[in-house]
């Protein structure tokens, strides 16, 4: 993230934290230690943007629209760039901006404007409104049935809605008309969801081979790292994360991957330091929670709670910008002693969509609330595609033990550890304890 992006983020987070009453900790851009500080307000250097950067792209597009307000293609590009900037900076205030510029594009050019609907679909998906994403994707498809990105947004929405067969068809169509990094990567994901890990790796390798920029190659290398990680291949994951980091130092997730690897290798202090760096640059709730979990396992519960509080504050900020975060909150709350809230959020999300990830979150929230009989139905649904997920398998094992099904529970916890011994910062020690309580060593 550039300085400008980080400053915007710091300001936004400051507002968010203020809005929820404050948690006494503000991260300043580049301040990895996370010491209390005022947000950088008027840093003149923040105005300078690197050529070729996302900020430069946005500035150029804004300038373009000032000069030629009728350029609806530029408006569509700017809308997508805003959605992307929200992701890169973890700052959801770009979403309303994206919405405004895409709406303006449609006012200027109401007909034949597939690009605007692709942008609206990407925006809706970013806000976790997958029904809206599908609706806009279908509009785009009627206008441009040969656009690869059109089938990308449609398939993405279908995956999140749990309609996997239809998603597979959309991605097949996408790759048949637009083979390339975008479509290969999606095929990789569908194969992974169906438990075809080797096929997922092949497709992601193809994605890496057609990627021509260092940034795209880095992205694909990182995904290969994730695939290796999820399969328990620690060394392979570390190699790919390091490769991704070397190709594009600005891609923060590969640093988070290295932090994860440090934890898996038992270097907890290093892992915490690395996660602090990551979170200072890119406070994705996932990383904030991971940092909190790491602190929790070291016994520093106060520091951990601070991170969980930050994650919840971020969730409030996302919600204020139109992002639905019920699934994420359900997982956070189920893992951290708020079973009632977790269950409410998960049931709301299940009312919206039936993906395997929502089924898993609902099952885990039911387990946390003590409803294991209901939980096991949903956890089995979560595993119905045959996904090789250590986390899902761990959840299943814990639910089975909760139901008194000792042998099944022990078997599934062992399976989880066989798939990936480092599947979760909190789950690994919890599984170990559960196996010990069940009289099984592991």
């Amino acid at each position: 993230m550039t300085r400008a992006g980080r400053t915007v983020l710091a300001l936004t987070l400051a507002v968010a934290l203020f809005a929820v009453g404050g948690i006494g900790l503000l991260r300043r851009p580049g301040d990895a230690a996370g010491s209390p500080a005022a947000p950088a307000a008027a840093d003149p250097a923040a105005l300078a943007v690197a050529p070729g950067s996302q900020e430069a792209a946005i500035a150029t597009l804004q300038q373009r629209l000032r000069e030629v307000p009728g350029d609806w293609n530029a408006a569509n590009d700017l809308g997508l760039a805003y959605v992307q900037e929200a992701r890169v900076t973890a700052d959801p205030s770009y979403y309303p901006k994206a919405e405004a510029v895409l709406a303006a594009s449609l006012r200027t050019h109401p007909d034949d404007n597939a690009g605007a609907y692709v942008g609206l679909a990407a925006l809706a998906a970013a806000r976790h409104d997958f029904t809206g994403a599908l609706r806009n994707g279908e509009r785009a498809r009627r206008l441009d049935p040969y656009g690869g990105a059109v089938y990308g947004v449609i398939g993405d929405a279908l995956v999140e809605l749990g309609r996997y067969a239809a998603a597979g068809s959309a991605f097949q169509k996408m790759v048949d008309i637009a083979p390339g990094l975008s479509s290969y990567a999606r095929i990789s994901y569908v194969r992974e969801l169906h438990g075809d890990v080797a096929g997922a790796v092949l497709a992601m390798r193809a994605a890496r081979r057609v990627a021509g920029t260092a940034r795209d190659t880095s992205w694909a290398a990182y995904q290969l790292g994730e695939l290796a990680w999820n399969a328990g291949d620690l060394a392979g994951a570390a190699d790919r994360y390091r490769e991704a980091e070397q190709l594009d130092a600005a891609w923060i997730p590969s640093r988070a991957g290295m932090a994860k690897v440090a934890w898996a290798r038992g270097h907890v202090t290093t892992a915490i330091a690395r996660y602090r760096e990551v979170v200072a640059l890119y406070p994705l709730p996932e990383y904030v929670v991971a940092l909190g979990d790491l602190l929790w396992t070291t016994g520093d519960r106060a520091a951990a709670r601070q991170e969980y509080g930050l994650a919840r504050a971020e969730a409030a900020l996302f919600r204020a910008n139109g992002v639905n975060v019920d699934l994420e909150l359900a997982l956070l709350d189920a893992d951290h002693g708020r079973a009632g809230a977790a269950l409410r959020a998960a049931r709301v999300e299940w009312g919206r969509r039936h993906s395997i990830h929502v089924a898993d979150a609902l099952a885990w929230a039911l387990h946390a609330a003590g409803h294991d009989a209901e939980a096991i139905r949903f956890e089995r649904r979560a595993l119905a595609l045959g996904t090789r997920s250590a986390l899902f398998r761990y959840h299943l094992g814990m639910i089975e033990l909760g139901l008194g099904r000792r042998s099944a529970g022990v078997r599934d916890l062992r399976t989880a550890r066989a798939i990936n011994p480092h599947f979760s910062i909190l789950g690994v020690p919890a599984a170990r304890s559960a196996l010990a309580r069940a009289g099984a060593s592991g």
Partner: protein, 465 residues
């Protein structure tokens, strides 16, 4: 193709908007376990074909040269500032030499990327003084294959691509040691060069503001000044290209990539599926002047033999309507080659874009299809008794130029604007004869010998634009 032209139309906005910034248009408030962030590339620059040129080689008039450029708006400086061709992708020059709108000869480049060191992803680890210099850590090689009558022959194997000119610090004598050194030849007189070059296209992009209700009163700047492209140049003796009927060949670029199966029911995996055409480019400006916005992706996947479907779009293109809307009264004549027939007829555009000019580059028995058409026998301009060279090509009587093939120096924008506004029709408005974007030549000199394209701008140039 469409992406570049969309980029043109979006003006310099596209400069910073490579495909890569669109990586991961996906939710952020999610855990990685529950939501894969996958890129939704709005642009795919490696298969974005900027231009195709075809002309008699000025240094070997008995051969024809083909120039294909890809990856628009390469910034010479700023990191990362090196640009690679895609692997797993066929880059093709297709040639129809009998007028049936099907490729009779295909020249195909395929690329492999090499990393000398697994420990670093730096482009250069020290000064690079030759194509084989170990300091060039990342380099590409290519195979050039000719496919004729279904038979594939590898003409050039494992040749080096001239690297991106990242700056004098890393590449102290780029032009002589790297650019010029990348020429490969075969015993049969085929020459191939692949590498980075200056973008030979010159125009003022603000012309395209017309499409958005702007005007081009501010024209006159070459908006592509200082940008590079990745280019392959091929030179082939005419005798290897000539068809059975005449000396007219039709030329178009395509890029194709393998599809793959989302899932395999039999449990096996294959890396690749059928090749899918993802880019098509023949004549310049077809996508802007002719193909409607909603059909651009479709056009990129289409084949010349099916081009009759685009006839309505050619007969009633968008540009004259736009010019009439922006400059009411400037073009009072309704452009129609045959007012007695219902609907707008533009037989002049059909001739230029789909058939070729009679007596010059229209093939015997040719069918209507969009490609660059070149009469390989037209003498070089300014030689012998041939007409003087002109940037306006055929419009100025220089019949060796566009739209009889396309030379690097042809002023495509001015020609296309005038043609679109009816300059080839007898009843056209006089204003059509003076239309132009105010940019008449490229900013960098073209080379007089193979590979003809201009040297790329250096990464150490502090202000390339």
């Amino acid at each position: 193709m469409s992406n570049f032209r969309k980029a043109l139309i979006a003006g310099t906005a596209a400069v910073a908007l490579g495909a890569s910034i669109f990586v991961g248009l996906a939710p952020i408030a999610s855990r990685a376990s529950s939501h894969r962030e996958a890129p939704l590339t709005a642009a795919d620059p490696q298969i974005d074909n900027t231009d195709l040129y075809a002309f008699r080689s000025p240094d070997q008039p008995n051969s024809i040269s083909f120039v294909s450029s890809w990856i628009p708006f390469e910034e010479p400086a700023g990191g990362p500032n090196f640009y690679l061709f895609a692997e797993h992708t066929n880059y093709d020059v297709n040639i129809d030499n009998n007028g049936d709108a099907r490729p009779d000869i295909i020249y195909r480049w395929t690329f492999t990327t090499h990393y000398r060191s697994g420990a670093t992803f730096l482009y250069a680890t020290g000064p690079v003084t030759s194509l084989n210099d170990p300091n060039l850590n990342i380099y590409q090689t290519y195979d050039l294959t000719r496919i004729r009558n279904g038979n594939s022959v590898v003409l050039i194997n494992n040749a080096k691509v001239a690297p991106s000119n990242v700056g004098a610090g890393s590449m102290p004598n780029y032009n002589a040691h790297l650019f010029n050194a990348a020429v490969s030849t075969t015993g049969a007189g085929v020459r191939s060069w692949v590498g980075q070059s200056d973008d030979a296209f010159f125009l003022d992009l603000r012309v395209f503001d017309l499409l958005y209700g702007g005007n081009f009163s501010e024209a006159g700047d070459d908006t592509l000044t200082g940008f590079n492209v990745n280019t392959m140049v091929l030179s082939v003796p005419r005798g290897q290209l000539r068809g059975p009927n005449d000396s007219v060949i039709g030329i178009w670029n395509t890029a194709s990539r393998p599809s793959m199966r989302v899932q395999h029911t039999d449990g096996t995996q294959t890396f690749s599926g059928n090749d899918v055409q993802v880019s098509r480019l023949g004549m310049p400006l077809v996508n802007e002047v002719v193909v409607p916005v909603g059909l651009k992706d479709y056009f990129n996947a289409s084949k010349p033999k099916d081009d009759a479907q685009f006839l309505p779009a050619v007969n009633d293109p968008e540009l004259p309507h736009l010019l009439n809307a922006v400059y009411p009264g400037a073009f009072p004549t309704v452009l129609d080659s045959n007012p007695n027939q219902a609907g707008i007829q533009r037989s002049d555009l059909v001739t230029v874009f789909l058939r070729g000019l009679p007596g010059l580059n229209r093939p015997v028995g040719g069918s209507a299809s969009e490609m660059l058409r070149l009469n390989m026998d037209t003498p070089l301009c300014g030689t012998g008794g041939a007409p003087a060279c002109s940037r306006l090509g055929v419009l100025a009587g220089d019949v060796q130029g566009f739209p009889n093939g396309r030379r690097l120096s042809d002023d495509t924008i001015d020609i296309a604007l005038r043609v679109a506004m009816g300059v080839l029709l007898p009843n056209h408005d006089p204003a059509a004869e003076t239309l132009g974007d105010g940019v008449d030549a490229n900013e960098s000199p073209f080379l007089s010998t193979f590979p003809f394209v201009a040297y790329p701008h250096s990464g150490s140039d502090p202000s390339p634009h």
